[in-house]
């Protein structure tokens, strides 16, 4: 069959590559499947995620636990069914030992469900950030070393109130990831006395925000905008055209470089916009600076890299590093259905460019969140400076299990 031939071809190339690399390894190489979105709306982010994951392996010279590592890549297009098909191919056909991926929220939930049918393989998240992946019905062999959407917003509610914004309107895309983000923001904001009279859920990829802008109440102090990429740019343009002047509070993927390069008249009004994220370009810890420098060296802009690693690059880097550090901890021993390896992963304190990460009982990361603020530098360029840093953010956001409810359109609420 075609497929088999293709596979044999691919495998022989992979094996040849592995053999011609360093010396002959004593043991067969360990295969790690790497899944990211190389198609669809997050194609650019997916490519950067793969760069991050490759960087983690490069830093270890392609070895972990004394064994050669071979990465087998697959692509999806941010659709859960495509992600599961690609994962199934890597696991069942290419026989990878460890899976790293996928990129987006819905995919993560679907791959987690699939992981339950493959109990001898270890699955490590890529950058997907839906709460339910590890919070609802977790899988014993699915690990997530990155914090998720709600955790990325911890501290933002407090910072918003500190700015004097007591009433805010939420404008967010209508799917799992923004629900998590809004929940992370509102649970803190509401608890500290903030009010959210109106929430506007807009479709992903929506072009027309006029009806949303018309609904903005006069008496709110700020707009909490959880939109990504083009959606955020469209909203800003239309808000400016409508003469809006409320200050903004951003989600984790809202105030990124593409927004800061925005050329509209209201550009200066972006100064002072605060946001929460697991990465801050201007974070000055030496580990993070070293990571950025290494990324820039390996993936210069001329070779398709970004001027500074994106959120996806960092998060894939962290998860791939976890996979490799785990292999180091058990000396490449994956016997017994990878039981030892999983135990090592669960107990590990992972050193990442943004601080130490530990896992909770659901194999979900407890890590650091940054609160950033847009400032203008001497040349007039806008960038995100670190306003504050919250360490040890857990998935329940510091709440008790019985008080915690997963974010949705109506949850939480404080009109």
């Amino acid at each position: 069959m075609n497929g088999r031939k293709a596979l044999v071809g691919a495998l022989s190339i992979a094996v040849a590559g592995a053999l011609s690399g360093a010396a002959f390894a004593q043991q067969p190489p360990i295969k790690i499947g790497l899944l990211a979105t190389l198609e669809g709306p997050f194609a650019a982010g997916g490519a950067d995620g793969m760069r991050g994951a490759e960087l983690a392996l490069k830093q270890k010279n392609g070895m972990a636990g004394g064994r050669q590592i071979v990465i087998i890549k697959a692509s999806s297009d941010a659709k859960p069914d495509v992600a599961v098909n690609a994962t199934r191919k890597l696991v069942e056909q290419d026989k990878v030992d460890i899976m790293v991926g996928p990129l987006s929220g819905g995919e993560g939930i679907a791959v987690k469900e699939y992981s339950k049918t493959q109990p001898t393989i270890t699955f490590i998240n890529g950058s997907s950030g839906a709460q339910a992946t590890t919070l609802v019905d977790p899988s014993p062999n699915f690990f997530r070393f990155n914090t998720e959407g709600a955790q990325w917003m911890v501290g933002l509610g407090k910072a918003t109130l500190a700015k004097g914004y007591k009433r805010a309107m939420v404008i967010a895309e209508d799917y799992a990831f923004p629900y998590s983000q809004v929940q992370g923001f509102m649970s803190e904001y509401c608890r500290l006395g903030g009010k959210v009279p109106v929430k506007a859920w807009v479709p992903l990829g929506g072009k027309d925000y006029s009806s949303v802008i018309a609904r903005i109440p006069k008496d709110v102090d700020a707009l909490v905008v959880v939109l990504g990429g083009a959606d955020a740019v469209n909203f800003l343009n239309q808000y400016e055209a409508a003469g809006g002047d409320k200050p903004l509070v951003g989600g984790s993927i809202t105030v990124s470089q593409d927004i800061l390069n925005y050329k509209g008249k209201r550009r200066d009004s972006l100064v002072g916009t605060i946001a929460g994220a697991p990465i801050a370009d201007a974070y000055d810890a030496p580990e993070f600076k070293a990571f950025v420098a290494d990324y820039q060296k390996n993936y210069p802009v001329s070779a398709g890299g970004y001027p500074s690693p994106s959120l996806f690059a960092l998060v894939y880097y962290i998860n791939m590093k976890a996979a490799l550090d785990g292999l180091d901890a058990v000396n490449g021993d994956l016997s017994g259905g990878q039981a030892k390896y999983r135990e090592a992963l669960a107990k590990m304190t992972l050193k990442t460019p943004v601080g130490d990460v530990k896992l909770d009982g659901n194999r979900q990361a407890i890590g650091t969140t940054f609160i950033t603020e847009v400032v203008k530098d001497a040349q007039g360029n806008l960038f995100n400076k670190v306003l504050s840093k919250v360490d040890g953010v857990d998935q329940l956001l510091g709440m008790k299990k019985e008080d915690f409810k997963i974010g949705s359109r109506d949850e939480p609420s404080c009109p």
Partner: protein
């Protein structure tokens, strides 16, 4: 492609189809003296079974015995489920001359209804009824939906049919995307799993493969049967010349709507299988890319014969899975596009067209020598 081109392609296919038909219904009797009509029918049926039919049937029946679970499930079962959905399009397009892009939406209606009436990861919306109740309701609603689409679009022709069915498909996609009380919006329904019947878990690769194979064979033979029935012949007549058929006293609109209803049955069963295969249904499952994919598979395999959709689906699924192994990451979609382009360029009748060309060449060569 313009309306005229479509019609031309359809009609050209029709002419060849009529010529290439080996077994016109009336002439099918094999003359065996002294045999009863029933025996005669049986013998005539036997006479049509060729070596390649036996080989293909043996292959598909024994495939899971030698293939890995991955090849059984992801390549085999997925191709069969997808093929069944595409079969509904090739039936409409090949025999009825109506290209409906909404067939994936009809399949999606079945999938969504299965998730809503059966059990899923959204207990707040799903009724949790037994799978066979949910599946039956799903098929009935999908047939109603498919018939409604047909009823809307049969008065149009060629490119207008494509446009109106595309519009219906896109509207359904946006309905699923933005309705939260019934369709659960962007996230759709997760964990819609195939049932366990008599201790056989149909989520497992081999049982699911045979389930899909059973449905696909059923659909295939049903289409073959319908094409030879008076209804099928009338449908081809309507495709070739609707006005003449109208003058002969055939209810053209009714025939066309009935064809849509029959196609909806195929699409609905394919949709159930595809939803079980994925274990989920989301708006993306009925998005524009899938509407177009179904058309691509149909063109890839060929519209002329009901085996075409399955061959097209196998090639499509193989490409989707293995193109990334042939060429480096960001470029693998080029391979997929290139293969499609090559097939459409060199064989307008799809892969079964290549087979027909090769066969006719062989026959003329043999004829020339003797």
């Amino acid at each position: 492609m313009s309306a005229a081109q479509w019609r031309h392609a359809m009609n050209a296919g029709a002419g060849r189809l009529a010529m290439g038909r080996r077994v016109p219904a009336p002439a099918a009797t094999v003359r065996v003296p002294g045999a009863t009509p029933a025996e005669r029918r049986y013998l005539s049926l036997l006479a049509h079974i060729k070596a390649r039919h036996v080989v293909v049937l043996l292959f598909v029946l024994t495939y899971p015995m030698f293939a890995t679970p991955f090849l059984t499930y992801q390549i085999g079962a997925q191709s069969l489920a997808l093929g069944l959905i595409v079969l509904s399009l090739t039936f409409l397009g090949g025999s009825g001359g109506m290209i409906s892009l909404a067939q994936m939406s009809v399949a999606g209606v079945a999938g969504y209804m299965l998730a809503i009436f059966g059990s899923s990861g959204e207990p707040a919306i799903s009724f949790g009824w037994p799978w066979w109740v949910a599946a039956t309701i799903a098929v009935v609603i999908a047939i109603a939906a498919g018939t409604a689409v047909g009823w809307l679009s049969v008065r149009t022709e060629g490119i207008y049919t494509i446009m109106i069915t595309l519009a219906v498909g896109v509207a359904f996609y946006h309905l699923c995307l933005q309705n939260y009380s019934i369709f659960n919006g962007f996230q759709g329904f997760q964990r819609v799993y195939a049932p366990t019947i008599l201790g056989i878990n149909f989520r497992d690769p081999m049982p699911f493969y045979y389930l899909a194979l059973g449905c696909a064979l059923g659909g295939y033979f049903l289409v073959k049967y319908v094409l030879r029935s008076p209804f099928g012949i009338a449908l081809e007549g309507i495709r070739n010349n609707a006005r003449r058929m109208n003058a002969l006293g055939f209810a053209v609109t009714a025939h066309r709507v009935a064809a849509y209803a029959f196609a909806a049955l195929l699409a609905a069963i394919g949709g159930l299988l595809f939803t079980w295969y994925n274990g989920l249904i989301t708006p993306n499952s009925v998005g524009t890319s899938w509407l177009i994919n179904v058309l691509i598979i149909a063109i890839l395999g060929g519209l002329r014969h009901p085996i075409g959709p399955f061959i097209g689906a196998i090639v499509f699924v193989l490409l989707q899975n293995f193109a990334i192994d042939l060429i480096d990451r960001e470029r693998f979609n080029l391979v997929i596009g290139g293969v499609f382009l090559a097939i459409v360029l060199f064989s307008p009748d799809g892969l079964i067209g290549i087979w027909a060309t090769v066969k006719s060449k062989l026959i003329t060569q043999r004829g020339g020598k003797s």
